[in-house]
């Protein structure tokens, strides 16, 4: 519970161990179908009455499936917190999960999949996953799922995933905003106090190692821009090197202006409108990717320049000021992130979800500042090899260079 004076609303984040990592092996899409079906009414109210109740509060609500957790997120006016949490609890603990609800969200998901086939960012992302992760790996498919699974998922399967993944053990509720901590604990206890369940055993996933360069270009007809995803299997959020990797990521390409690849690809050479990199924070090796939107004529050059900048980092050619800038930016973002209840809640949720320690938020800026040039070079050499990577391109035909 994070009280923030001077606000009118409360942000709620409820993370449950029902993300892709916890999805039944070989059934990508079940987690998202379950999450969407949970928003189609409860044991007490049909879908229409549930929507009426949510909108009567003027509150927002969504349930997203991430690589690790399924996260219910929403916002309500301060006075409505009790009623809102009651509705959230009813939604996650006793969803209807009825045939009609499943068929509705199945049709929606199939339409989303149809759209994704023509969306260059989605195609590039899915292609990169297929190049990187082996069959059966929880991250081989985007959370939207595999079309065959979405078509065939049964109500029994959805209910089983809800039973196994949506339980009090392992779930984290964070409230931030216009609240009194004691009162918020009371209303949360009233709403969720009877929720029970035990954590499922951890899923065993073998480490992913790329054995060389893997590249695939997919032509998406009648598009003008190509989307590029270049990446490596990253490292678990709980890996002690994760903070060093975040600084290395910032030096490399995390930001269009503060990072080496971003500066050169966009600012100096004008090759792309957007270019950025990110490392997913999850229980296992989430994607560590560079993404950019590039004119087909410029694709090869943009990729080549990105590798050149990565090579410089691996060789230790990092200006002191570039490293200081990366550290300062990451520390400064923590401070600026406090401007919103969502930002505050997100930071607390990450620390709780990955058990980073009660003092994580106080310790983390110091850990970022302690990262050295040698740390960054070591991370880049170990985790961002120049000859073992996956590269996916989706869009118009790439001209022969």
């Amino acid at each position: 519970m994070v009280p923030i004076a001077g606000l009118r609303s409360v942000v709620a984040l409820l993370a449950m161990e029902a993300g892709q990592f916890f999805e039944p092996a070989g059934r990508p899409g079940v987690a998202r179908l379950t999450a969407q079906a949970m928003l189609r009414g409860t044991a007490r109210r049909d879908a229409s009455a549930w929507s009426d109740a949510l909108d009567a509060l003027g509150a927002s609500a969504r349930l997203d499936v991430g690589s690790h957790a399924a996260v219910f997120s929403g916002q309500c006016l301060a006075d409505d917190l009790g009623a809102y949490l009651d509705l959230v609890a009813e939604t996650v603990v006793t969803p209807a999960l009825a045939d009609s609800g499943l068929e509705f969200v199945r049709a929606q998901a199939l339409a989303d999949l149809e759209e994704a086939k023509k969306d260059t960012r989605s195609v590039a992302d899915q292609t990169w996953r297929e190049l990187t992760y082996p069959v059966g790996h929880p991250f081989r498919t985007r959370s939207i799922g595999d079309e065959l699974v979405v078509r065939s998922a049964s109500l029994a399967e959805i209910r089983a995933h809800h039973r196994n993944g949506i339980h009090a053990a392992g779930s984290v509720l964070v409230l931030a905003g216009a609240l009194d901590a004691d009162r918020a604990f009371d209303v949360a206890e009233r709403a969720f106090g009877a929720w029970s369940g035990t954590e499922p055993p951890d899923r065993a996933v073998a480490p992913v190692i790329l054995d060389g360069m893997r590249r695939r270009a997919v032509v998406v007809p009648d598009k003008t821009q190509a989307d590029v995803v270049l990446g490596w299997p990253g490292l678990p959020r709980t890996d002690p090197r994760f903070t060093r990797a975040q600084v290395a990521n910032m030096v490399f390409a995390a930001d269009t202006f503060a990072s080496r690849a971003g500066q050169v690809v966009r600012d100096q050479l004008g090759l792309a409108y957007y270019v950025f990199s990110s490392i997913a924070g999850t229980a296992i090796q989430g994607p560590w990717t560079v993404r950019m939107g590039v004119n087909p004529e410029n694709v090869e050059r943009a990729i080549s320049v990105t590798f050149t900048e990565l090579g410089k980092i691996r060789d230790g050619a990092i200006a002191d000021d570039d490293l200081a800038l990366a550290r300062d930016k990451l520390v400064g973002e923590l401070e600026v992130g406090r401007e919103s209840p969502n930002g505050v809640a997100g930071m607390v949720l990450e620390a709780e979800l990955f058990q980073l320690g009660d003092d994580h938020l106080e310790r983390y800026p110091r850990e970022l500042r302690a990262v050295t040039k040698d740390d960054v070079v070591a991370i880049a050499r170990k985790l961002l090899p120049l000859d073992h990577y996956a590269l996916a391109i989706a869009g118009p035909e790439i001209p022969a260079s």
Partner: protein, 408 residues
């Protein structure tokens, strides 16, 4: 003009500069000039050469960016409290001293073409751009904002520089500062930063209003680069300064809720129930934008596979008629009202968004403060919403667009 709001919940200040220049200030052949110029304001001044500003703000962990729309070009930085003086100084400097070299214009041209190409990958953008062009015969709102690829390629450094000198001056801008300092201090420091920048004679030739539309217009966009068909409908409507603006915002919430996208909120709205729950469409959105001149009330529906455009369009228009013909019941209006007020309250709890909200109300002429706008929304009655629907959803002022994906 400087406006400030104290917001003490985080040690952060958000600085915004809103220039009264956008797509509406452009003429055919040079459409996209305001947007191109926005990019050039990140290329340095004599005091802060290129890269200075980027690195300085990045070092603070700032959230910063810029955008251009039909009415305004806007720059903002959200920074730790003790750095906001720097943000003010940077903005005051680039208000009049941007370098805009030929070399940088050439380098940025490909970036802007790339931005345009990214939009072109999106069927909703393609259809929306065409619908806007068809809906307006005379007013520059029909030209859009980014310009065509050809216009971007023809833009000259001298043209951009002239546009900059003509429109970038303190007397053609709103400075909005919100955050962790007293309102007096925020105003005083902003005034000190911008006080040295001389006012210019800003020549804004009067814009002739769009003549009334005399009948329904229709268009079709075919392209392989989209999977699902779309229906868009635009109705000519009023400017943000019109007293009916708050009712039109309420009308948007009644039709499609306030959130859109994957959020579960707004599912009790009229169009969600009539189009999505019935499985005619996968998604629907309705919006009334706050603009200086009368623009469009727009509705977009994504047609579900196997359903025809006509079926979706008929159901959509039926719901619009129903809203105009039948009173909204008390329980439904209570939900609309709650959603409307939450749509102001929620973003306002974030400092950056509070500053954005104030700036957009001021620059569009919708209200003089967030409180005044909140009050205007709170005063909306069911009859106001019904009247807004009756006045707006008129066949002769309607433009209907269909996006038809082709096999590819």
């Amino acid at each position: 003009m400087i406006h400030a709001l104290e917001a003490r919940h985080a040690p952060v200040v958000s600085v915004w500069v809103w220039y009264n220049v956008g797509g509406r200030n452009e003429v055919p052949g040079t459409t996209g000039m305001s947007h191109f110029l926005e990019h050039m304001l990140f290329k340095g001044t004599p005091v802060h050469p290129k890269g200075d500003l980027d690195r300085l703000l990045a070092r603070y962990g700032a959230q910063w960016n810029a955008f251009t729309n039909e009415d305004v070009t806007c720059y903002f930085e959200t920074v730790p409290r003790d750095r906001y003086g720097v943000a003010l100084e940077l903005e005051a400097d680039r208000m009049r001293n941007a370098l805009i070299s030929i070399e940088e214009v050439e380098a940025e041209r490909t970036v802007i073409v790339s931005e345009r190409e990214g939009y072109e990958n999106d069927p909703s953008f393609l259809l929306g751009e065409s619908l806007q062009a068809v809906a307006f015969d005379r007013h520059p709102y029909g030209q859009g904002v980014i310009g065509s690829k050809f216009e971007i390629k023809l833009m000259t450094r001298d043209g951009l520089y002239a546009h900059y000198r003509r429109h970038y001056a303190p007397n053609n801008a709103y400075v909005v500062v919100v955050g962790d300092d007293s309102a007096e201090s925020l105003v005083e420091r902003a005034a000190r930063s911008f006080g040295a920048v001389a006012a210019e004679q800003v020549v804004a030739p009067p814009l002739a209003p769009e003549p009334p539309q005399m009948g329904e217009k229709r268009l079709v966009v075919h392209r392989a680069g989209g999977a699902l068909p779309l229906v868009q409908v635009g109705f000519h409507t009023v400017a943000a300064s019109d007293p009916r603006a708050a009712s039109l915002q309420a009308l948007g919430v009644a039709l499609a809720g306030g959130s859109g996208g994957d959020a579960a909120s707004g599912r009790s709205s009229r169009l969600y129930r009539a189009l999505v729950e019935t499985q005619l469409a996968t998604d629907v959105d309705a919006s009334f934008g706050l603009t200086k001149d009368p623009y469009l009330f727009t509705i977009e529906a994504t047609v579900r596979p196997g359903v025809t455009h006509r079926a979706v369009e008929d159901a959509l228009l039926r719901e619009l008629r129903r809203l105009a013909d039948e009173p909204i019941e008390e329980a439904e209006f209570a939900r609309v009202r709650r959603g409307l007020l939450a749509s102001v309250a929620f973003p306002s709890d974030t400092i950056t968004w509070r500053a954005f909200r104030l700036g957009s109300l001021l620059s569009s002429g919708a209200a003089s403060s967030i409180g005044a706008w909140y009050d205007a929304l709170a005063r909306v009655t069911p009859d106001d919403v019904r009247r807004a629907a009756t006045e707006t959803f008129v066949e002769r002022s309607r433009t209907v667009g269909h996006f038809i994906p082709e096999a590819g």
